[in-house]
Point group: C2
Chain length 451, copies 2
C-alpha cells in the first residue's frame, strides 16, 4: 500500500479512536460492510475490491509526519501523548471474513466483516468503503455490459476505455481492474496493465489522423510503425469515404481492425462490413466505441450490427446510471473483557440495521442456479446443502491464506455469473433476490429494539 | 507527483508517441481541453484540477521499470530501442495556457491549452482529462450545494463528508479539494487536511453511541475526551428522546452541536431547536447530514429548518446526478518545421470540433455580471473591455509564475460566483450561456471542412 493512503479517511475514525483510547475501552468489535438498498436498475451486485482492502488492513501504519499533523489539529489538543504513541505503533491485529472477490451479492448481505479491538476495526471504515464501493460498482456495471455484448449467445469482447472519465487517475486503475474481473477482455489503462497484468488495448486517436495531410497518409504511417497491430479509426471526417479509402491501401491484407467512434453504429457497421467483405477483407474486425453502455450494446446486438469488439468508457468506469452504492460499515456486536457478547444495531428511520455477526447461506437449485440466500448468525449451523459465502481472509492480523490471482478471480466470477438465474441477468429489471433471515437472527433483532 | 502516476494513461497515447517518433514527425501541436456539451442540469461549470494537472505535466517521467514493462508488451515489439530511450529522457518542454482554477466556464470553451512537440502534448491527454474532469465536476456540484445552503441570503456552512462514497481513496481527496475551492467550509478527509491545509471536521459515528450501554454514557464519555469539541449524533435510536436526554446532561452548557443524520430533517430540526432553546441551549448548533444534495438543502432552507451546517457526502463527491463531464482534449492546430500553421478539426457526427488555438473573451455588464463570452483565435486582438480567460501557466516546460494558493483560489472562486447572473445560479434551470464566436474563427472553421 502507498503509505500516504493512511490518512485518506474521515476524521471521526480518529476522534473516536482517541475517545476509546482515553477511556481505555477494551471491547472487541465486529463491523460489517454491506449494501443497504439494491439499486433500482441492478438485479445483482458483484463484490470487488477485497485485494485493495486487505492490502490497506495489513499495511496500515501512521508515519511520524501523519502523527505530527494530527497532533497539531485543534481538535486533538486535549488528547494525551500516549494516543499518538499508540498510532505510531498501530498494527491491525484482528480477523477479517469476506466473500471472495467476484462473488454475487444482494442488498443487506455483508460482503466483509472485521472483528478486532474496537479502535482498529473502526479506523478501517472509510478506506474499506471507498475501495469496495468503486470496485463493486464498476464490476457490477461491467458484468451487465459484457452480458449485453454476448446477449445473442455469441462471444464479443468488451474493453475498458474509461480512464479519462473515471474519477481521477486512481479510479481509472481500480475501474480497469473491476471491469476485467467482471469479464472485460482488457483495458486501455497502461498502469492497470503493468500493476495487475491486465491485457492493454489501444492504437490511435483522431489526433493521429488529423496530424497528417490525409487519412491515407496517417494510416500508411501507422501501419509502418505497427505492421502487426494496425487498427484504424475511421470516423474522423466521413466514415464511409474513409472505409472506401481503406480497402485500397497497400497493406489492406495485414489490417487487423477498424474502429467506429460516432454516428449511427448500427447502419455504419453494416455498411463498413459490406464494403470490407466486398473487398475480400473478411479478417478485418470492427470495433465500436463512443458513449456506449449495456443498453446501447444490447440494441446493437439485437439489430445484428456486425461489431466484434466494444470499447466502453464513461458509463462503465463511472457506473454512470448509478454512481454510488449504498455501502455502509456498521457495528453489529461487541465482546467485552469477560467474553460477553453485546448485540448492536441502530434504529434511525430508513437506516435500521440488523445486529449480530452474520453468515450468508446460499442455496442453489438442481441446475446450479442461485435459489435463495439466507442470512443467519455466524454461530449458527449451516442449513443443509447451503454454501456459506463469508470466509476467513485475515486471522489475528495475518493473511489466512494466499489470495486468489486476478485470473482466478476473473474465471470464478464468470462461473458465478453463469449461476445467476436468467431473470436476474436481464438488463431491464426491477427484480432482485431478497435474502431471507434465519429465525435466530430475527429473534435477536426483535430482542434488541430499545424499549 | 507520485511517480507511479506516469502510466495511468491510455495505451494509445504511447502507441501514437511511438508512431510519431518512428516517422520523426517534428510538428508542434496545440491541444485544447473543453467540455463538449453542457449538462442539462447545470447552468455553469467551474474549472478545477489545474494544480494537479500542472504537477503531472512538470514531473512526468518514465522510470526504468515503466520502460521495461512497455518494452515487454507485444504491441511494442516492432518499436525500436531509441523510442524507449526517448521515454527515459522525457521532459515536457512546451507551453500551457489555462483558465485560473475556480473560473466559471461554459460548453465548448477551452479551459486548458497545451502547445508542445506533438508527442509531449499527446501523452498528457488521459491524465489531464481525468483530474480536470473529477475536480471540475465536484467543484461545480459543490458550488450549487453551497448556493442552496445560503439560498435565503443567510450564510450556512457546507462540509464535505463524501470520502466513503467517492470513487476510491484518491477521488475522495480530489473531491474534498474541489468542494473547498467551491465554497465548502472543509472536509472530513484527513489527508486532504494534511496535504492541502483544508479544515477537517468530524466527531462521532453511530458506532460510538452503540458501543456503550446507553446514549448518555456515550455522550458523557465523548465529552470527557473532547471537552471543547463536543458535537453529538442524536439519531441512533430515537431523535426526540435523545435530545431530551441531551438537555439534561451535566456538560450541556459546553455542548457545541448536535447532528441529525436521518428522518424528516425539517420537522426534526425544528423540534430539536425548540427543545434546545427551551433548555436555554441557544449556543448549540444543529448539523444535518444523510443523503443531502442541493435540492433537498434548498427545500430545507425554504421551509425554515433551523439547520446551521450541512454535511454533504455521496451526491457532492460523486456529482451523483451528473457523474462525468463530457471533457475532451482535441488537436486544434499543428505548426510545422517551417513555422506554417495547419488548422485541425474532426467532423465526426455530433463530435465536430472547432480548429485553431483559442482565447475566450468575457464581457461583463455594468454591475459586473457575466454578459457574454466570445471564443476567438488566440492571435486575435481583445475585443474592447473584454477579459481574456486563458493565461500562460507553463512556458517552455517551466512554471510561468507561482500558482495561487488554495485560499486564493477559494476566495477568487467566491468572487467569480458572485458575478454569475442570478438566472444561472438557480438550481432548476435548463438555461446556460452559449459562448459566441468571432468572425475569424467561424471563417476558419468553414474553410477547414474537408470537401
Amino acid at each position: 500500500m502507498n503509505p500516504s493512503n493512511s490518512l485518506k479517511i474521515d476524521l471521526y475514525e480518529l476522534t473516536m479512536a482517541a475517545g476509546y483510547f482515553h477511556h481505555n475501552v477494551g471491547l472487541t468489535a465486529a463491523f460489517e460492510l454491506s449494501c443497504h438498498t439494491m439499486p433500482e436498475n441492478r438485479s445483482f451486485l458483484i463484490a470487488c475490491g477485497l485485494e485493495q482492502a486487505v492490502d490497506y488492513i495489513l499495511n496500515l501504519r501512521f508515519s511520524e509526519e501523519d502523527v505530527r499533523y494530527l497532533k497539531g489539529l485543534p481538535v486533538f489538543k486535549t488528547v494525551k501523548a500516549d494516543f499518538f504513541e499508540y498510532l505510531r505503533q498501530f498494527r491491525f491485529s484482528g480477523d477479517v471474513w469476506a466473500m471472495p472477490e467476484g462473488e454475487i451479492f444482494f442488498a443487506r448481505e455483508p460482503i466483509l466483516q472485521v472483528e478486532a479491538p474496537i479502535i482498529e476495526a473502526q479506523i478501517l471504515e472509510t478506506y474499506l468503503l471507498s475501495v469496495m464501493n468503486i470496485e463493486s460498482l464498476v464490476a457490477t456495471k461491467a458484468a451487465r455490459v459484457v452480458a449485453a455484448a454476448c446477449s445473442d449467445g455469441r462471444e464479443r469482447g468488451v474493453v475498458d476505455f474509461g480512464s479519462r472519465r473515471a474519477h481521477g487517475p486512481e479510479a481509472g486503475v481500480l475501474a480497469a481492474r473491476a471491469a476485467y474481473i467482471a469479464g472485460a477482455l482488457g483495458t486501455s489503462n497502461v498502469f492497470a496493465g503493468k500493476n495487475f497484468g491486465i491485457p492493454v488495448y489501444g492504437t490511435i486517436a483522431h489526433s493521429w489522423v488529423e496530424a497528417f495531410d490525409s487519412e491515407e497518409e496517417s494510416f500508411e504511417k501507422y501501419h509502418r510503425a505497427f505492421p502487426e497491430n494496425t487498427i484504424l479509426l475511421i470516423d474522423t471526417y466521413d466514415t464511409i469515404e474513409c472505409i472506401q479509402k481503406i480497402v485500397r491501401v497497400s497493406f489492406k491484407d495485414k489490417l487487423k481492425g477498424v474502429r467506429l467512434d460516432s454516428g449511427d453504429l448500427k447502419t455504419l457497421s453494416k455498411k463498413v462490413r459490406e464494403i470490407l467483405d466486398g473487398a475480400g477483407l473478411k479478417q478485418v474486425k470492427i470495433l465500436a466505441s463512443g458513449n456506449l453502455n449495456e443498453y446501447k450494446i444490447a440494441d446493437l446486438v439485437k439489430a445484428g450490427a456486425p461489431i466484434d469488439l466494444f470499447g466502453v468508457g464513461t458509463d462503465m468506469a463511472t457506473s454512470r446510471d448509478y454512481p454510488a452504492l449504498d455501502l455502509t460499515y456498521k457495528l453489529v456486536q461487541t465482546t467485552d473483557a469477560k467474553a460477553r457478547v453485546h448485540y448492536k444495531a441502530k434504529y434511525s428511520p430508513q437506516k435500521t440495521t440488523i445486529p449480530g455477526k452474520k453468515q450468508i447461506f446460499r442455496r442453489r437449485d438442481k441446475d446450479g442456479f442461485i435459489k435463495e440466500d439466507i442470512i443467519g448468525l455466524s454461530v449458527e449451523d449451516n442449513p443443509q446443502k447451503a454454501q456459506p459465502l463469508l470466509r476467513p481472509v485475515i486471522r489475528k492480523g495475518t493473511l489466512a491464506g494466499p489470495l486468489p490471482s486476478l485470473e482466478e478471480i476473473r474465471r470464478d466470477t464468470r462461473r458465478r455469473l453463469s449461476g445467476l438465474p436468467p431473470s436476474l441477468l436481464r438488463l431491464d429489471t426491477g427484480v432482485s433476490l431478497n435474502p431471507g433471515y434465519t429465525e435466530k437472527i430475527l429473534e435477536l433483532t426483535k430482542a434488541n429494539v430499545p424499549s
